[in-house]
């Protein structure tokens, strides 16, 4: 489903974020990417979202080379990928409901679909009682759950999460990971980057370990080893 072909990324000051990285992710997989800060985890995810371009190599989403897509087609790609970020990135002037509805509106979905799907997905993340709250009225864990609801409401084929538990307490972290597992169980491919050893060890899924922009381990049922 995702195929990185000898991808490198160098920034202007010649610091290397990714160095000749190749790997494949199959549909339905749950993959964690681990590594120190600056190991290139976020760069990797940004490339899947077409937020950044590789200096060399190619990134494929199914059979499409992401970085040959024109600017007009990038939104269409992004609608097939749900994304969750460490800093939540909710729209501050919209309620939980409106934040989720926005992605559906942007994808051109009908009003009645929005009316029925948004409450449903909020219920799935356990926030149906906070539907009309603004982000600043929610706790960190709640905000991240709204962000996850937003990411999955368009039933994406792929969910990518960049340090989703980085700002959360252990209990919220546990809840968020359980939600990811549930999403993976219904067939969605999940890519997760994290620092959290506990999360990785509990998941027992594939782990890719990055160091200084290179893949140093790729284990089927990995543990957090650095």
């Amino acid at each position: 489903m995702i195929y990185f072909d000898k991808v490198s990324k160098k920034y202007f000051d010649k610091s290397v974020a990714l160095d000749n990285v190749s790997f494949t992710i199959e549909p339905g997989e749950f993959v964690s990417v681990v590594g120190h800060s600056g190991a290139g985890k976020s760069t990797l995810l940004k490339m899947i979202l077409a937020e950044e371009k590789p200096s060399a190599g190619k990134v494929f989403f199914e059979s499409v080379d992401i970085h040959t897509l024109g600017r007009r087609h990038i939104p269409t790609l992004r609608r097939r990928i749900g994304s969750v970020f460490q800093d939540f990135r909710l729209l501050p002037h919209k309620t939980a409901f409106e934040n989720i509805a926005f992605t559906m509106e942007a994808a051109g979905r009908a009003e009645d679909e929005i009316e029925s799907d948004v409450p449903h997905v909020l219920e799935l993340v356990g926030l149906d009682d906070k539907m009309w709250n603004f982000p600043f009225e929610l706790s960190g864990g709640e905000r991240q759950r709204v962000a996850i609801a937003r990411a999955i409401v368009n039933q994406p084929d792929l969910l990518i999460a960049d340090e989703p538990t980085g700002n959360l307490d252990p209990l919220s972290t546990h809840e968020i990971i359980e939600i990811f597992k549930k999403i993976n169980d219904i067939g969605t491919t999940v890519i997760l980057t994290t620092h959290n050893k506990g999360v990785i060890d509990k998941l027992g899924k594939r782990v890719i370990t990055l160091e200084k922009g290179k893949i140093i381990r790729d284990d089927k049922e990995g543990r957090y080893v650095i």
Partner: protein, 304 residues
């Protein structure tokens, strides 16, 4: 398409309402700009009408000898009206001149009484108005020639009064004040537009994070841009309402201030009679300013 438009308008108005302080900043700066535009419009109308009425007062006055026949004077009036430079010629008969004089001096009993004894000392009079003040020279030359060609009788014209120096000076003042006024207006409008564009850019700079989030969740550019433009339209509309209301008391104040100024129009009645066009100008410039600056400012953040 239609549903998108509905969504864009709804979310634009919601954002506007929820972003109170930011919206207020745009409204304030737009209002200032519109006030500048509105007062310059009113000011130029005031100046133009004052200048026009001063031009109308600048004329050549021809006094005729008392023995001049009325038919001869009227013949000259006809000749004058044939000249391309002449706008109007007004005839005032001997009797009318006398009546005017009596009226001007009705408080002066001695003067009136001596007038009774003398009889009517006044000749008829023609007041000539040129289309352009620069043409008074040639009209005056025409009149002098006319008198000289009359031959032995010495002509019927007694005196031509024509304040040439004053006219030349006025003309110079008129043209300089128009040039300076135009330059100042252009500068003021340019400055206030720059300030407005800058402020609206700042309000969108505040929203740049939001814009990048919208991009990342798959919204296309026109869908992101739409609500910001709706906000610009609303701000422009509100600002034009505020400025047209604020202009009324300032117009009243200016009228009272310039009540003694010779020849000017009544600015208040001008404001009322031109309310529609003035409001359209303000609304149009407000909406165009709000929309265009939003459109330009947001382009920078759509590149993610």
């Amino acid at each position: 398409m239609f549903i998108n438009l509905k969504r864009v308008i709804r979310s634009g108005s919601l954002n506007f309402w929820r972003n109170g302080s930011v919206a207020l900043a745009s409204i304030l700066v737009l209002t200032t700009t519109l006030l500048v535009i509105g007062s310059l419009y009113l000011g130029s109308a005031f100046l133009t009408s004052t200048l026009a009425s001063i031009r109308d007062r600048v004329d050549i006055s021809v006094a005729f000898k008392t023995e001049a026949e009325e038919s001869a004077v009227l013949a000259l009036k006809k000749d004058l009206e044939q000249l391309p430079e002449v706008k109007t010629v007004t005839y005032s008969s001997r009797e009318q001149e006398l009546a005017d004089f009596r009226k001007r001096h009705e408080d002066n009993a001695l003067l009136i009484q001596s007038l009774e004894e003398v009889g009517n000392p006044f000749g008829a009079r023609l007041s000539i108005l040129a289309i352009n003040p620069a043409q008074y020279d040639s009209i005056s030359r025409f009149l002098s020639n006319y008198n000289e060609n009359a031959g032995v009788t010495g002509g019927i014209i007694d005196q031509i009064s024509f304040k040439k120096d004053i006219i030349a000076k006025l003309l110079a003042i008129i043209s300089t004040s128009q040039t300076i006024g135009l330059a100042i207006s252009a500068l003021l409008i340019l400055l206030s537009i720059l300030v407005t564009v800058n402020t609206i850019s700042l309000t969108i700079y505040i929203a740049r994070e939001e814009i990048s989030v919208m991009r990342l969740v798959g919204a296309n550019n026109s869908y992101i841009r739409g609500p910001f433009i709706v906000e610009g339209v609303i701000a422009g509309g509100i600002a034009s309402f505020i400025s047209i209301v604020l202009l009324y008391p300032s117009v009243l104040w200016v009228r009272n201030l310039t009540a003694g100024v010779y020849g000017g129009i009544d600015l208040v009645s001008f404001y009322i009679s031109h309310f529609g066009i003035l409001f359209l100008i303000l609304l149009g410039s407000g909406i165009i300013l709000g929309t265009v600056s939003s459109f330009l400012a947001i382009g920078r953040y759509l590149k993610v």
